[in-house]
């Protein structure tokens, strides 16, 4: 569904994404893993059509990523989003104007599940609430691909369960979800496949249940093996 071939991005002398070839299939939730600076965000931005590759290609359902694919790909970046004068309702209306597949009904339902009120002003939100709002507004689109960059960042332990539930409810046979995070443990049960990226290069894509069955290792174990002595951040 989402395929990158020899995808490369250089910033000056630094190669952020280095000849990454992989195909992500619908019907799965992928965890994209790697320490900060390993190229996850850059790969996602190119797949979302928000950044041009230096070389290589990325395609959605066989067509090069661009204006058309952006209608089907919902992307949540790590950067802050909203104008401070906006209420949560305004954020929804802003999105509704932008995206044909945005559903106000779904948005309201997600807000309820995340305990957010439409009247709240975005500037008064705590960082955790702002993080939940970003997820709600992204999942309220009826897209084929959802890419969430660091969805668990800034979200406390209890609210992470809500986020997980919302993400799981969004998964379907005809959809693809890609979540990047350095909070590996948060995604063990949610993801069924993991993409490991190191220094901009693809290490491997693994089926997690298969890996547990054959090797008896968790995603976090494999993460430690691949990234050596890099600390895995705990929740």
């Amino acid at each position: 569904m989402l395929k990158s071939e020899e995808l490369t991005k250089k910033f000056g002398g630094k190669t952020a994404v280095d000849h990454v070839s992989m195909e992500l299939e619908k019907g799965h939730i992928y965890a994209m893993l790697g320490p900060n600076g390993s190229g996850k965000t850059t790969w996602m931005k190119m797949a979302a059509g928000l950044m041009k590759p230096t070389s290589g290609t990325v395609s959605f359902e066989g067509m090069p990523v661009g204006l058309e694919s952006r209608k089907h790909v919902a992307y949540m970046s790590t950067e802050p989003y909203f104008y401070s004068w906006m209420t949560i309702r305004d954020v929804g209306q802003y999105y509704e104007d932008f995206f044909d597949d945005f559903s106000m009904e779904k948005y309201r339902q997600l807000l309820r599940e995340m305990e957010l009120e439409e009247e709240m002003k975005t500037k008064t939100l705590s960082s955790g609430m702002a993080a939940k709002l970003k997820i709600a507004v992204t999942l309220a689109r009826d897209a084929s691909v959802y890419m969430l960059d660091e969805p668990f960042n800034g979200i406390d332990l209890l609210a992470r369960d809500e986020i997980r539930r919302c993400i799981i409810s969004e998964a379907a046979e005809d959809k693809l979800l890609l979540l990047s995070s350095h909070l590996v443990e948060e995604m063990e049960a949610v993801a069924d496949r993991a993409v490991f990226i190191k220094y901009g290069k693809l290490v491997e894509v693994r089926d997690l249940e298969e890996m547990r069955l054959t090797d008896g290792v968790s995603m976090a174990d494999r993460y430690r093996e691949i990234y050596g002595h890099t600390e895995v951040k705990q929740a």
Partner: protein, 123 residues
């Protein structure tokens, strides 16, 4: 939900459901949540949830009726068989633990009686 991440999640969730079926918390013939609801309830990937039902069906403890969903079997003998097997596994694990402490099977039985009577039931 806390899972042991080194063991397949579907194995762990199917054990939880099997236990509820044996204990009668999920009664014979009762309808189980749909795959997506099971996934949301247990905080697991929907493909993992589907695998849970495949496994329980393969064992014959659940059946899926086309278009209607997944149900606990009505076959009480089947449930009894699974219960006996799970209890047997638990007993063998306990015995192995006791033997590992250098005690004998007779000790294990005596310990069980004591444990059931509570702390003060020391002979």
């Amino acid at each position: 939900m806390d899972y042991n991440p080194t063991i397949p999640i579907w194995v762990q969730v199917s054990t939880m459901l099997r236990r509820q079926i044996c204990a009668g918390t999920l009664s014979p013939g009762s309808k189980l949540p749909g795959g997506r609801d099971l996934a949301a309830e247990y905080g697991i990937n929907p493909n993992t949830a589907a695998r849970v039902y495949q496994e329980l069906e393969r064992e014959g403890i659940c059946t899926t009726k086309r278009g209607m969903g997944t149900f606990v079997t009505q076959d009480e003998n089947k449930i009894k068989e699974v219960r006996t097997q799970m209890a047997g596994d638990a007993a063998r694990a306990y015995l192995a633990e006791i033997h590992g402490l250098g005690l004998r099977t007779e000790d294990a039985i005596r310990m069980l009686e004591t444990a059931e009577g509570g702390k003060d039931a020391e002979k």
